[in-house]
């Protein structure tokens, strides 16, 4: 098609001298009655078309060769830029998602670890506390037992002393009253009396 227009341009250029000749023969635009557009006898009407073909050919050439490729490259650059931006945004989003997943996994892991540590510590502390309480109980029990033994021995001692004192006192009383002493009988009586009162 370009070729067609080039040929048309050449042909029209070739007619230029002829047109100039006609122009010198009929100077000025002539016009008859009616529509000037339908006055095909007027050489200016035809010359107008020839010039138009030249100018339109030039327009086509400039548009096809320079202007439209330039506009297309601008549009293409914008499309590429937008696509690139979208892609990098998508990549950034993927990275952010991955980071977020990592973060969540790390958090979950840390939480599990912390819970395990807390559990272990609690168990350990409980075991220690139980052990300590047991030891304390044992010590206290031993102490109580010792104290009880001590008390029992002290009471036994005290009870032994009481019998001695009671026997001696009773013997002394009996001796003062009757002037003689029967230690064996007194001791038996005291024993009997103590047994009766539950103090033996």
């Amino acid at each position: 098609m370009k070729k067609t227009i080039r040929i048309a341009t050449l042909l029209s250029l070739a007619t230029l001298p002829a047109m100039a000749q006609v122009a010198s023969e009929h100077p000025g635009a002539t016009s008859s009655a009616g529509m000037p557009q339908l006055d095909f006898g007027n050489p200016w009407t035809i010359a107008q078309v020839v010039w138009m073909l030249i100018i339109f050919g030039g327009l086509y050439y400039v548009m096809a060769r320079y202007a439209l490729p330039q506009v297309e490259s601008v549009l293409e650059a914008r499309r590429a830029r937008i696509e690139g931006d979208l892609e990098s945004a998508q990549a950034a989003k993927q990275r952010a998602d991955a980071a977020m997943a990592d973060h969540q996994a790390a958090t979950a892991k840390a939480r599990a670890e912390a819970q395990a540590a807390v559990g272990a510590a609690t168990q350990k502390a409980q075991a220690e506390a139980a052990q300590r309480a047991e030891a304390l109980n044992a010590r206290l029990a031993a102490q109580i037992e010792a104290a009880e033994t001590q008390i029992a021995s002290a009471r036994d001692n005290a009870m032994g002393a009481l019998r001695q004192v009671a026997t001696d006192t009773a013997d002394a009383l009996v001796t003062r009253l009757i002037g003689r002493s029967d230690s064996a009988a007194v001791a038996a009586a005291v024993e009997h009396e103590l047994a009766a009162r539950g103090r033996a």
Binding site: M1, Q37, A47, L53, A64, L68
Partner: protein, 252 residues
């Protein structure tokens, strides 16, 4: 042919006069051709200068150039498909040339080269030749099957083939007359109403001045309408060219 007396002279605006006196006279370069050259310059400036900055975020001029590009690109690829890209510069040049011709013609003192049947017919004939050459280049002699639709009864061939040929040959005529008639009608109307403004306004004193407001308002509305027509006719020219190209590429 200038308006003498009371006669309404709506047609002298279409007369061709030499551009720049003797220089234009010597090469038969009329004011119509000068306006074509202006359109060429404006289109080139818009497309080249508009996108020269290659901005990612376009300015006004670049947005205009880009939307012009994408508008016509949409028409061509929409009608012809992906094979249409080869013909895009041609349709784009046609569209812009007609659009700027129509629009420049609406400016005061300007000449409308699309109001000349010779010009519009030459453009339409160019479209016709290009379309036919494209069809022959793609389909060879198979192109002639276009004139007899597949599946039509053979008996009707003597009827169908002449009709198809006539309708094919009448394309450049309808294409050119449509644009030419629209532009002429619009400009004649503008001229007639403008003449009314002057005639009524100078006729009856104060009353005349008041009466002249009506055709004046009419002209204002007409200019707005003509802007629509200017765009619409360029669009019609481009889309019909695309439809013809579709037929040439796909044969129905």
């Amino acid at each position: 042919m200038a308006a003498e007396g009371k006669a309404i002279d709506a047609l002298s605006q279409f007369e061709l006069v030499p551009f720049m006196g003797a220089l234009g006279e010597s090469v038969r370069f009329s004011q119509s051709n000068a306006h074509m050259l202006l359109a060429f310059g404006l289109i080139t400036a818009l497309m080249m200068w508009g996108t020269a900055k290659r901005a990612i975020v376009p300015g006004r001029l670049q947005a205009l150039a880009e939307s012009g590009y994408e508008f016509v690109h949409g028409i061509v690829t929409g009608q012809v498909g992906d094979q249409g890209k080869k013909y895009f510069p041609f349709v784009f040049s046609i569209f812009m040339f007609v659009l700027f011709g129509n629009m420049i013609g609406l400016l005061p003192y300007a000449f409308t080269f699309t109001s000349h049947i010779a010009v519009t017919f030459a453009l339409a004939a160019l479209v016709f030749v290009v379309v036919t050459v494209v069809a022959l280049a793609i389909h060879g002699t198979h192109f002639f099957s276009y004139f007899f639709p597949e599946g039509a009864p053979k008996a009707l061939a003597p009827l169908i083939i002449p009709i198809e040929i006539i309708s094919y040959l009448s394309r450049p005529i309808s294409l050119s007359v449509r644009l030419f008639a629209n532009m002429v009608a619009g400009h004649v109307m503008l001229k007639v109403f403008a003449t009314f403004v002057v005639m009524i306004g100078s006729a009856a004193g104060v009353l005349g001045l008041i009466g002249a407001v009506l055709p004046m308002a009419m002209n204002v509305a007409l200019v707005g309408f003509e802007i629509l027509v200017a765009f619409l006719q360029a669009y019609v020219f481009a889309i019909l060219t695309s439809i013809y190209l579709h037929d040439a590429v796909h044969l129905h």
